[in-house]
Symmetry: C2
Subunit: 346 residues, 2 copies
Amino acid sequence: VETFAKSSDYGILESTARTEGRPVSRKTTIKDIAAKVGVGIGTVSRALNGNPNVKQSTRDAILRVANELNYIPNAAARMLVTNSQSETTIGLLVPVVENQFFFELIKWIHTELKASSFNIMIFNTDHGQEPVIHHIIEQRLGGVLILGDPPLSSEERDVLEIHRVPYLYIDHHEDYANFVTFDNKKGGKLAAQYLADKGCRKIVLVGLNDQSQQQIDRFYGFMEAVPAEGGIQVSELCIPNESKSYEMSRILLNDRKIDGIFYFSDTMAYGGIQAKLEMGSSVSIVGYDDIFPSKFMKLSTVRQSAQTLGRTAADGIVRLVRQSASDDGVAKIQTILTPELVDRQS
Amino acid sequence: VETFAKSSDYGILESTARTEGRPVSRKTTIKDIAAKVGVGIGTVSRALNGNPNVKQSTRDAILRVANELNYIPNAAARMLVTNSQSETTIGLLVPVVENQFFFELIKWIHTELKASSFNIMIFNTDHGQEPVIHHIIEQRLGGVLILGDPPLSSEERDVLEIHRVPYLYIDHHEDYANFVTFDNKKGGKLAAQYLADKGCRKIVLVGLNDQSQQQIDRFYGFMEAVPAEGGIQVSELCIPNESKSYEMSRILLNDRKIDGIFYFSDTMAYGGIQAKLEMGSSVSIVGYDDIFPSKFMKLSTVRQSAQTLGRTAADGIVRLVRQSASDDGVAKIQTILTPELVDRQS
DNA sequence: CTGAAAGCGCTTACAG
DNA sequence: CTGAAAGCGCTTACAG
């Protein structure tokens, strides 16, 4: 009996179930509120959802009690009945997040989506995309942004399409799908023109990752733009990973004939800049991305603005999600952005 | 009649409801599977969940049909009945994500959490934390990581505690709560010692943000460590925002007597390095953070490893979530990491 | 091994 | 304006 006499001492924990005398907090439900106010659960639901057909005094009482009891609705229950795609959340599929460019991208996607009051759920695709796709559908997310290769398999696409979850590739061109990407071929071209303009005759391409379609496109763009008549000599150098760029660049610069280097990413180019400075070389260097340190490193580079790409993509998926919700026609989003060269005399 | 005769043409869309002759896809449920296989829904549920008490042939049939029908379970329904905190997802509260250090941090948190197969849901707290907290509880997330100031209000803490959602501050010390942070005072001390060791007599502190408790701690640590007897002169310079650092540094370096500068973040220090190089100054510069470009910029700085901080924090929240799930004792997590000085002779 | 039934917390016609 | 009831998709004792 004493246990019950003291029950009001629990204060905010008042609505608790007791097992073996120990108070165990149970979450407040509309049932609890209904009981305490003395109305039906339907009325509680209406009051809480701002339905106008509720007497003011009833509404006030319900709101007050809900607050007292620290009521917070159960999203799962609501979703179950409304069958709402939890359309305010969109999934972001990211492979290995080692890449500074991806980070700036995510930042802008985030900024833009929050402006449309969407939330982001990040999924890692290192262990394959299929389990992730299932998870996204289980959670009834509104849409998916897909960063980086590899593209979805046709089974994965089918799953998304059957379940009407719109998806958009970022920085990856795929004819059948929605995407926002930069023109990598054009970017490669810009790099080639830059080095040609500097009068380079013996050029090395460093760090091409042949798993990356983007980088392959840059490569072809570069090669196409090399003036045929100039007698320019182009060779390629693979490096095991980005952090080895400095050492490899030093070796490269021992060959005094080399007068131009194109690095397939800014991060690698930094090692080149460093080696160049230390060795007093006059080689021309151009990178790719224009991530934020490049300004300080005074690196000439092909800028693909993470801001533009991120915002455009975020914008796109929001449009797709809304379209899909309203069941309107499904206009494809296929945007190709143009990179530009930033000349910092490196 | 023809409509029905053609129904098999729909292939994967076979399980569709038709409204006014137009096929509208409806998501497959266990009911659909049960009907098609000719068993009860309970059996379907058991088979799908790997319950061993199901005859092999029944299980096979169910799995096959589930697959045919592209069945994916409804997470909301399952959560409703199991009342499982969706404990595989943890929320990450982030203010303005403009800060490179935060980015590296998020990356490591992500890496570590994915290893424990948790997912991350990022919430932006620019418009206040309360709505976000509610959202987290509605979604029944397993736990929350809180990045950056300001700390939660006591109401917000109450809400989390009542609903048993563990939370952990990152890079923010708060006596009553779980946190993982760096010793900022110690960091300030290291910076002071560095400049003193270089023989600096006239030092400027640049870019202190007095809204940031961390930076204030660094400031006090710095001031305490300045040798009393050396006659060292310390002054402060505010700059409106990080990108103005270069211009301000140039102005600063016009005063040839200044021989030491402590920048409260690496990003600002880059502007200083640039100005120093251009003006041929011999001033000593030290930064704070050691984000990735600092190595290339050859900036001496106080390293607080985003990797260590991120991993430790991720680890901590995972422990807290598991603890809270198993209802064990609730050991507080209060970890203070020690920064170190990286001397790059800047 | 399996089916029928209860119930998770909520919303929403429906009938007053 | 309000209550009682049905139902969202699933899990899980319970009784065969």
